[in-house]
Subunit: 359 residues, 2 copies
């Protein structure tokens, strides 16, 4: 608990001075002020996060956390649980979607076993932080104990700090875990207060009957477990997942160390709800990557007050949307750092006043 408390204690507001300096520079560059829209906003936000007026993102890491979910016993997924370890090996072989997109944007991928329900072979790129081999079935009992929830969060903070020690300018969150949209739906329902039916999506691709069943499972589980939205640790413990807790830890670690953290889709969004539930100030450090097809994600982003950068109808997870968003963040900072100013380029600025208009 000390690690978690200390980390939260370090999270402060954005650096207003760095943001003002970045804004002033954006306005001096050879383009009409504001004409690069959200790229300008992004660069200013990263300045505020890092405290640097001219930040860069050379060193990028995508943390993909895997965990299994006891709730799959209820028949909520289109894929069998064995897919979780199979996909972990796929990540480690470098041939999954996240590997392809990470290479595309020049990011490294770190895969973390937070609670896969199988013994995984050791691998140099695999961090083993297994809290337990899968959560308990939260339809019948809490997904994990409060102690396990803290352990998952602190593991996430430590994974982040290990990445930071290797050199890190930006981090992104990704997930793998059959059943994890069900846990995320429960978390989203508790924090946003919106009806479960409006938050439940098709995950890996379930049909209509199974979708209705999934919503019912979540609804009944929340009624039985009674997670308290004012106590984020309680929510994580009762209806969460080990990888969700781990990703919330990554977010808290990033915010504490003033590193921008790109959040992927619905599962990362659920992790962000847990992280900001524990520490509202962490919200300012989040870069929302994309708008997932998984319908609950929109509610999560609305609740967090975040507008996603991409809208590509993605619903894979793994950090795939976050990888693409890293490239936009990098582009925004290159604009800030590499473009000429009007003065340097000898380009005329806007007309002093509007011209006298011909009648």
């Amino acid at each position: 608990m000390t690690k978690l408390r200390e980390t939260i204690g370090r999270i402060g507001p954005l650096d207003e001075g760095a943001m003002a300096a970045a804004k002033a520079r954006q306005d001096s560059l050879t383009k009409p002020p504001g004409s690069l829209g959200r790229l300008e906003e992004l660069s200013i936000k990263i300045a505020g996060i890092t405290g640097k007026p001219l930040p860069g993102v050379e060193r990028k890491s995508i943390v993909v956390m895997a965990g299994d979910h006891g709730i799959v016993e209820e028949g909520v997924s289109a894929y069998p649980q064995e897919v979780t370890p199979q996909m972990v090996y796929n990540f480690l072989r470098g041939v999954a979607a996240i590997n392809v997109l990470a290479r595309h944007v020049g990011a490294r991928v770190v895969v973390v076993d937070m609670g896969v329900a199988a013994d995984l072979e050791p691998h140099p790129d695999l961090r083993s932080r297994k809290v337990a081999p899968g959560t308990a079935n939260f339809a019948k009992e809490p997904a994990m104990s409060r102690e396990q929830a803290v352990k998952a969060l602190e593991a996430g903070i430590e994974v982040f700090e290990a990445e930071l020690a290797k050199g890190l300018d930006i981090v992104a969150t990704g997930d793998m875990g059959i059943g994890n949209t069900t846990a995320s739906t429960a978390i989203a329902a508790v924090f946003t207060g919106e009806p479960v039916g409006l938050l439940t999506g098709r995950g890996t691709g379930i049909g209509d009957e199974q979708l209705a069943h999934k919503a019912k499972v979540v609804e009944e589980a929340i009624a039985r477990r009674q997670p308290d939205p004012r106590d984020a640790l309680d929510v994580l413990a009762k209806v969460g997942g080990f990888e969700i807790g781990g990703l919330a830890g990554v977010i808290l670690g990033a915010a504490a160390h003033r590193v921008p953290v790109v959040i992927d889709g619905f599962i990362s969004g659920a992790a962000a709800l847990v992280a900001t539930g524990l520490c509202p100030a962490a919200r300012e450090y989040l870069i929302p990557a994309h708008n997932s097809v998984e319908i609950g994600h929109q509610s999560v982003l609305r609740h967090l007050g975040l507008r996603p950068l991409l809208n590509l109808d993605l619903r894979l997870g793994e950090g795939t949307g976050a990888a693409l968003a890293i490239s936009l963040v990098e582009a925004s900072l290159k604009i800030l750092g590499q473009m000429a100013t009007f003065a340097e380029a000898g380009v005329s600025g806007a007309l002093e006043a509007e011209p006298t208009l011909p009648k």
Copy 2:
């Protein structure tokens, strides 16, 4: 006219066989089918454009065409006309927004003087295809002759073919020209049939009074010139611009040679209206990059039946949105080409049938 006619004659439909092969491969990759949404669609479209089941985009070119507009006499812009040549030099020095973003995505930039109202110093990266030093003021007379319109289009085709000869897998369009949102507004109004008031935007950043004036200028000019939407050459000649004609030529050249062409914002959209007015089949070769803040752009994309990839509140032009979209196209093709299939990875597919749901 021969060049233009021949080019249009070469434009055919997408390759259905290549698209079917790409779709089959997407469905065999280690992810739930469809879960990478628009990235999957994009890769399939590029297969259809190129006729290759596994296309790649190594060689990328962004063609930035510059031209001046006689209509600026009417007081429609926030910046003086001298900014057009100043920005051309800025592009050639490699310090404008488009240079930064082109480097970010690994694309080369070719700058073309299609009709700048100034004598430009020669430069190895500058193509001089000046039709005339700026269009005529289309409030008072046609912007150009029909012969000049053909000349602009054929120059665009030749610029494209010169890029193709250097090696090219994807091309993007960009623009520079003080006054060119006014010409584009007129083109958009003629082709879409929507009211000028709903299509007129702030361009480089004009105020409310000037905005109303700009709409009035366009409305009156269309009433006087009477461009015929069934004759795209007539529209280009009466209310267009040399860079707009040149970009329409680039689009036609790309479609004729089965190279995907990423269109940037409002000016590139106007060029796409001219190109598809001349040859409707060219539409299939367009990749719409982003949704510009310039309000007429949404109507243009709707009219073309295209959904943009990015929504970043950009309104700079130069090809900046297109540059970012190139990176998404490349990502989509890397997914198609580099991900493992379920069979290769030994990952289980979806459950054969929905599980028997517990009562």
